[in-house]
Symmetry: C2
Subunit: 197 residues, 2 copies
DNA sequence: CTTATTACTATCCACATGGATAGAAATAGC
DNA sequence: GCTATTTCTATCCATGTGGATAGTAATAAG
């Protein structure tokens, strides 16, 4: 009963993800979105309600995928897996190009002030979910006797969140590959220091 | 032999510092700069060479002041002073308003991509100077026997840089006072865990 | 095939931006 | 007091922005 869209929702979101990733929310213009997503500015307005609404959809999709596929697994991860996860953050495979550095949720923290509740809740979702994973893994490791008794899982989880955000910042700040890896190594060393014996 | 300017350089820079701090580089328009600094857009062009050049001057002034007055002192700081310094980062006195959160150099990391060498060198200056302070303090603490032998000062300094950048990110991300303080406390706990005995 | 509905194309718009410019006003040296 | 020099005031400008709109094209139901 109507004309077909040139692009389906999913591939539009995928294109937008890439663009927002590289250019940031404010750096990506609606004209660029047209090209990268296959959507028209018209459709961006009529069916998504404009640039920001569409960005939120994109961010949601990103977080869904991150939680399902990239966050550390609270059920199975041991301490060494967690250390490996931190190494993976700065690995070349995941960060093929400098401008790809970062995570869309992390970037949103600096792209927006906290005046928009819609953005805020998504940032909260990112932080609490990730910190929860950290805490669960550390808590389980403690029960298993893998980490020293003085280490408080919740506090250690906050340290890891801090280090992760710092690592993302370093990746933005220092373009050379060398820097992020040495900071990731420092995080790994810290985690290893929590081990028993 | 010429007309006097309404504002002197120093107070113009002070006003700009405040504005760039609150609104960010891109958020601060040249019209706002006029009001906050007392400079005219004309003078901004003719004597400072435009918005970005003036921002760099402001950033330089900020870094000069930070190094001279706010960075931890490598000569005298003990481990407890360092811990106190981290607590001070999130203290209410230094962060009276939410939107004041952050450090101008830190904010510059996300405000610019790395395409401008002038900005990059200043970010490098910030990171290397601060990491150097951390490393010096930790190194001295090790010589004094204040920290455990397994702790590598250089690696620990990178951990602290990571945590500091993470702390700044948290302050941007979570407006409630409660969050940053618990993360700062986690950093303090970490530092205390490095102590001997 | 007709028709209602939706998306596409092509403009148009108001607004904000950093910057440029021209004439008026102030100021220090002579 | 004259004059050269610099700043100030007041526009003007080109550009890019997100968004709106009107006419056209496609498409599925009837």
């Amino acid at each position: 009963m109507a004309r077909k869209r040139k692009t389906d929702h999913d591939s539009a979101v995928a294109g937008a993800l890439d663009l927002f990733w590289r250019r940031g929310y404010h750096g990506a213009s609606t004209r660029e979105l047209e090209q990268q997503t296959g959507l028209t500015r018209f459709t961006l307005q009529t069916t998504y309600g404009g640039k920001e609404k569409f960005f939120l959809k994109t961010l949601d999709a990103y977080l869904d995928n991150a939680e399902a596929r990239h966050f550390p697994d609270p059920e199975t991860y041991a301490l060494d897996d967690l250390a490996g996860w931190f190494r993976g953050i700065v690995s070349a495979e995941r960060m093929p190009k400098i401008e790809d550095a970062g995570c869309l949720a992390f970037n949103s923290i600096s792209s927006f002030d906290r005046s928009d509740p819609e953005v805020n809740t998504r940032i909260e979702r990112y932080l609490t979910a990730l910190e929860g994973r950290f805490a669960a893994i550390l808590s389980r490791a403690k029960v298993d006797g893998a980490i020293r008794s003085e280490v408080d899982p919740d506090e250690a989880a906050r340290v890891l969140i801090g280090l992760l955000l710092g690592l993302h910042t370093i990746m933005k700040a220092r373009t050379s590959d060398q820097f992020p890896q040495s900071y990731a190594q420092a995080a790994v060393g810290l985690i290893e220091g929590w081990k028993n014996q």
